[in-house]
Amino acid sequence: MALRNHPAKYSAFGLVRRGLRKTNWPRVWREPDWKSSYDVIIIGGGVHGLATAYYLAANHGITNVAVLDKAYLGSGGSGRNTAIVRSNYLTPEGVAFYDRSLDLYNTMSVDLNLNVMFSERGHMTLAHTDSALRTMNWRAEVNKLQKIDSSVIGPDEIKKLAPSLDVSTNTRYPILGALYHPPGGTIRHDAVVWGYARGADAQGVDLHQKTEVLDILCEGGDGADGKGAGATVTGVRTRRGDISAPIVVNCTAGWASTIAGMAGVRLPITTHPLQAAVTEPVKAFLPTVVVSGSLHVYVSQTDRGELVFGASVDPVATYNMGGTLEFTEELAGHVLELMPGISKMRLLRQWAGLCDMTPDYSPVMGPTPVEGFYVDVGWGTYGFKAGPVSGEQMAACVANRATPDLIKPFELSRFTEGELVGEKGAAAVGH
C-alpha cells in the first residue's frame, strides 16, 4: 500500500538538497486537465472522499477516478474538526472498526510519505458523576477484553497527567475519575487530507477543486428525470460541465442529503452545526486530550501551543456556520471549571462545521437504490476518526460491487428494513 509513482519523495535529505539548490518542491498534486469521462467520480474532497480514491487506486488498481470538490480540498468537516482519534469504544464491533482506523493513522506518515503528525498523547474522558464513572468502567472492561489500552484512573493520577485540572472536591462537578486511553491522541487534520490527496494524485486520480456538482445524471428510474429507485447513474453535471461515469460516490458532509437528492435518493439525515474554538498559543502545559461529557467540552493543546476546544452539536438543525456567542460563553465557563488557572488566556477564533446526523447516530455506507450511486455519509460528529478505514472499506465496496462485512450494518436499506444499527453497529457512537 506504500506510495508509488511519486515524483518527489519527502525526506529530511530532500529538504536539505532542495535547501542547498534553492529549488521548490514540485506540485503536491497536479492541476488536472478537464476530462468528460471517468470510471468513478467521488463527490467531496475531504478525508473520506480522498481516502476512498486513494484506496481505489492503491488496493484495487482503479485509477481513472475523479474527486470533485466545490471549494478546496479539506474545506469541509476535514478542515474543521478537532482532530482527535481514539479507539476506546463501547461495543466490540466499534472497537474493531476504530482500531483499524487507528492502525491506519499510526502508519499513515510512512504509508503516505507525509508526516501527519500523529501525536499519541493519551486521551482522558472525565467522569463527574457516579453514573458516568459506571459507564467509564464499562468501557474499560470491554476495552480490556479487546486488548485496547484503556483503564479507569483516579483523581491523583489525573492530576499527574494533566496538572491544570482541578481535581479537588469543592467544585460543582468534581472529577471522580477518568477513562484513560494512552494510544488516543491528535493528528494534523489538514495533513491527512493532503497526504491522501497527494497519494491519490500520484497514482493518477484527478483532483478537481472549485468544481461544484449541480446535478447527478441518471436514467431509467421511477422518479423525475429518470432518477430514484431503479435508476442507473450516468454521470454528474458540474459548474464546469458534465462528466460521465458509471459509478458516483457521495462522500460529502453537511450537504450529503442535498447531493443524494440529486439522484432521487432520500437520506434520513438532519444537519446540525458543531462549534469549535481555539485560543492564542501559550507554552505547553496540557499534555493529553481531555474530554468531559458532563461539561460538554473537549480540549487539547496543539504543538503550536493553542488550546483547541470542541463541544457537542448545536441543538438546532441549520446550515448556518456563523457560530454563536453563547457557545463561546458556555465553553469558557466550562473550561474554567475544569482548569480554573487559565482565565487570562484568550480565545482567538471560533468556527463551526456541519454534522450530518442520522436517526441511529451511525453512518450510511454502501449502495443505494440507484445503480452505481454509492454513499459514505451521515458521519455525525466522528467522521474524521473513521476517515481511513471508511476510505478503505468504501473502495472495496465500489471495486468489488459488494459491501464488505465491516460496513454491512450501515447500508441505507436498514432504515426501510428495520435493521437500525444498535449494539451491532461497528461505528455507532459510544456514550
Binding site: S11, G19, S119
Partner: protein, 948 residues
Amino acid sequence: MKNRLPSRAGEQIDRSTILSFTWNGKKLEGFAGDTIASALVANGVTVLSRSMKYHRPRGLLTADYWDPNATVQVGDEPNVRAAHRRLEDGMVVSAQNVSPSLRFDVKAANGLVGRFLTAGFYYKTFMKPAALWPRYEKILATFAPGGKVDLNTPHGYHDKRYAHPDVVVAGAGPAGLAAAIAAAADGASVMLVEHEHEVGGHLLWGTDDDRATAAALRAEAEAAGVEILTNSTVTGRYEDNWVAIAQRSHPMAVERLIKARAKMLIVAAGTIERPYVFAGNDLPGVMTSGAVQRLIRMYGVKPGTRAVVLAANDSGAAAVAALDDAGVDVARVIGSGDRAALVKATGSSTRIRKVHMGDGTTENCDLLVTAVGWTAPTSLLNMAGDRPVYDPSAARFFPGTPPDNVLATGGITGDGTRDQLIEHGRATGRLAAGRAAVVCHRLQASTARAASVDGAEPSYPADERAALPRAPHPEMFRAATHGIVDYSEDVSSKDLFGAAAEGFDSVELIKRFTTATMGPSQGKLETVNTVAVLAEARGETIAEVGTTVWRPPYAPITLGALGGRVFEPVRVSAIQPWHEANGVTPILAGQWIRPEHYGDPAEEVRNTRTNVGITDVTPLGKLDLQGPDVPKLLSLLYTNKWMQLPVGGVRYGIMCAEDGVVLDDGVTGHLGDDHYLMTTTSSGAATVWNWIEMWLQTERPEWQVHVTPITTGLASINIAGPNSRALLGRLTDDIDLGPEAFAYMQVRTGTIAGIDDCITWRIGFTGELSYEIHVPSQHGLHVWNQLLEHGVDLGVQPFGLEAQRIMRLEKGHFIVGQDTDGLSKAPTTGMIPLLKLDKDDWAGKPEVAWVLDDDYPVVVAVQPTDPTVVPEEACQILRADTIDIVGRITSSRFSPTLGRSICLAQVSQEFSEPGTELTVLLVNGTRTTARVMEHHAHFDPEGTRLRG
C-alpha cells in the same frame, strides 16, 4: 528615558506621574499614559521579542494593538499586547519566546538553516523511523510561541452586562464619533466603543488642529448622552445584531463581556496600515508610518536618529513631518509607488543599519519608515455575512453589501478629508437612528404589554449617503526581494511562493499549509499581503485570489470574560436543611444534591423493611398535565394504554425515543377531570419535558394539553414500610387509607399535617407498603418533621438514595440509564406486557416491533454463586472459557435483607433463561460464576408486602 522628547501639547502621557516597572528583571521607568512598548522604546529598548521559528530579534512595527512583535508576559498574564496595554506601576514585564534570554537566544541558530525549514517542512520529514517521531514532536512543541500560563492564576472578578442600545458604533475615530453624535441627536441611545484608550482615532497622532477636533467631538458626544467605552472592543457581531463587546476599562474586572442587542450596528473600524514585504523588513527599526507618528505625537518618544521613509501615500509625508518635529534626521524620502525603489534593509542583530535602493545607492539609518497602504478590517462586516470587494485602484478591499441593520462609515469605506469623514459619519448616524426608530416601533407594536403605540410606523429610511471618495493608491505589497509576510508565524513571501508552486495555491490552502494569517492578529496585518503574494505567484489578480473569511472574535477575548462568574446552580429540596443538620452524606445527581445516606445504609434498609422509613424524593421530575387530550398524549408517549385510566388511578409507564430506545419511565396519576400528574426519573425530567413539548408543538399542535413542569414546586416524600399506613394515618383526617378505599396504584388528594392539596399515591418501588406524598414545596420541611415526630413509636427513620437503590434492586426494578443504556430498546427491560403493539401508535412502536423478532439483550436478575462476592457494576459476562462478551452486570449490591450479593445484568437471550450459569469477569481479572434467577425480584416476588 533617553529617547523621551521634550513635552508637547496633546501628548497622552502625564509626565508628573512616574511609574516603575521591570523588563526582563531590569528596573525601568515610564510615565502614566505610556504603553508598555512606548516606555520600553523611551528607555532605548529596540528588541522586544524573538520570532517564532527562527528566533529573529524583533522590534516595534506598528506600535498599536496589532503589533506582532510586541507581545509580552506581564506577571501571570501571557500574550499581553505591549503596544496597547498601558503601563502600571510595579508591572513585571518579560519577553516571551526566548531561549534562554532575549539578548542571547540559541534557537536563533535556526535562522542559519532557515532555507531548509521552509513552510510546512515538518510535513516532509520525521516520518522515519516512526519510533523517533514522538521525540521530534517534543522538540517541535518547544517552538510554540506565546507566554506562560500560571496555573495558580485566580479566577478574578468577571461579571457580564446586558445592554439594549439603539445603536452600537464600533470605532471612535472622527467618523465613528460623528455617527454617534448624530444618532444620539436624533434620539437614539448609543454605545460608542473604542479599541484604544482615547477616542479620536488617527486624529490623536495628527496635527494640533486634529487633536483639538477630537477633543471637541468627544465633548459633543458626551453632551449628547453617548455612552463612550474606551479600551473596549466589539469582538463579534452575531445573528440579529447580537453584539459582543469586551470592555477592558472596567474598574474591577480584568475584562468584562457586554452583550448588546443593537438595533443598528455602525462599523467605523478605520483602517490598519500594512507592512511592506522586502528583505530585512523584520529588522528592529523598520516601522510603519503610523507607528512613528504614534510614538512621537502620543508618547513623546523618539523612534530613531536617522531615518529613511518610503512614502507611497500621505501618511508617509505626515510621518516625515512628525520625524522633523522630533528632531530625527530624515536622510532620504522615497516618494514613489515603484516597488523597485527599495530593495532591502540590512543591519545588526539589534537594529537596522542600511537601506539598499533600487538605483544601487544605499543609505545608512537606524529607522526605516514605510507608508505603503491600508487594510480595511472588515471582520465585523464579514460576521454579518458581507464579503469584501477588492479595488485595485485604491489597492485595498472595501465592504460589499452588508445587511440593512449594519452600516459602515469612515476609513473602512473610503478616504477623504477630516471633514468629509465627519460628514459621512453624521449621515450614517442619522440613517442608523432613523432605522433604529422603525425597529423600536415594530418591537413595541408587537409586544403584548404595549399593544398600542403612538403614531404610525415611521418610514424605513433608505441609504442615500454620498460615498466617500477613494484615493488612488499604488499597489505596493512586495519589493523585488523576499521578506516576512506574517511576523507572528515567521512566514516569508518565499515560503508563500514555494507553497503556491507546490499546489497549495488557493488562499485557504496556503493559509493552512504555511499558517500565514493564523497568528494572534488573525490576518489583520497579514491577509492582504498574503493574498497579494499568492496572486503574484499564480499570475492572477488579487480579486481572483479572493480572501479568507474573518471569524469572531475581532480581537482575542479572555476566557474569564467569556465564562463570567462560575455560575453553576445547585438544586436542593426544601428538606435539605434537615438533611444537613442530621449527618447526611450527600451525593451529586445531575443538578441535584441528594442524601446518599445518614451513616449506615444497610441499617436504613433493615428499619424500612421492619418498621417504616421516609426518604426525600423531591428530584423526581414532575409535570402537571391538564386538558382534554392528555390521555392521547400519554398513549402516544408511553408504550402501554392510558385511555381508560379512571380518576384516582395511577399507572406505571415506559417511554421510548423514536428509535425504540428506552427514554424514561415513571408513574402518572389521574388527579381529576382532565388533570394528571406525571413523574419522571430525576435525571430525565428536562428531557421528558422537552420531548412532550416537541410532540405538542410540532406534531400534534391541535391537541389541547397544558404542560407545566412543577418538579421544584412540590416536595416529594416516600413513606415505606409495614408501619407506613399507621404513620400517615396519624397526619391525615380526610384521606381514607383503608386497604380497599385506597388500594395499590391509587392516588388521593387531601390534607396531610395540616397542609391542603397534598397528592398521595400508593406505589411500591421499595417493595414495601408505601405512600409517596407530594406537598407544596414551602411545606415540605414541615411535613417531613411531622412524619418524624409522629412516628417515633413506629420506628420511623429517614433513608437515603443508597438504601433506596438496595431495596429497588432487591425488588429487581431496573433504572433507566443504569440497567438500560443508550442502545437498549424497550423489550430489553423485560416488560413485554407493557409494550402494546395492538395500540394504534406510540413513539418507538415500529422499532420495538422490529426488535421483538430479534435477539435483543434482556435485563435479568442474577445471583453470584458465592454470596459474598459483589461483582463491580460494569463487570463483563463472558461465554465460558472464552473472552466473548455476552452481557454485563448493570447493578450490584450486597443485600442486607437476604444476606447475599444480588445483581441485575443485561445478557443476550441465549443466556437469559432462569437457572443459566453465567461466567462473570471481575475487574481484578478473576472469573466467578452467577445464576440467572426466575424473577426480577430477589425478594418477595409475589409482592404481598406492597399490596398489603
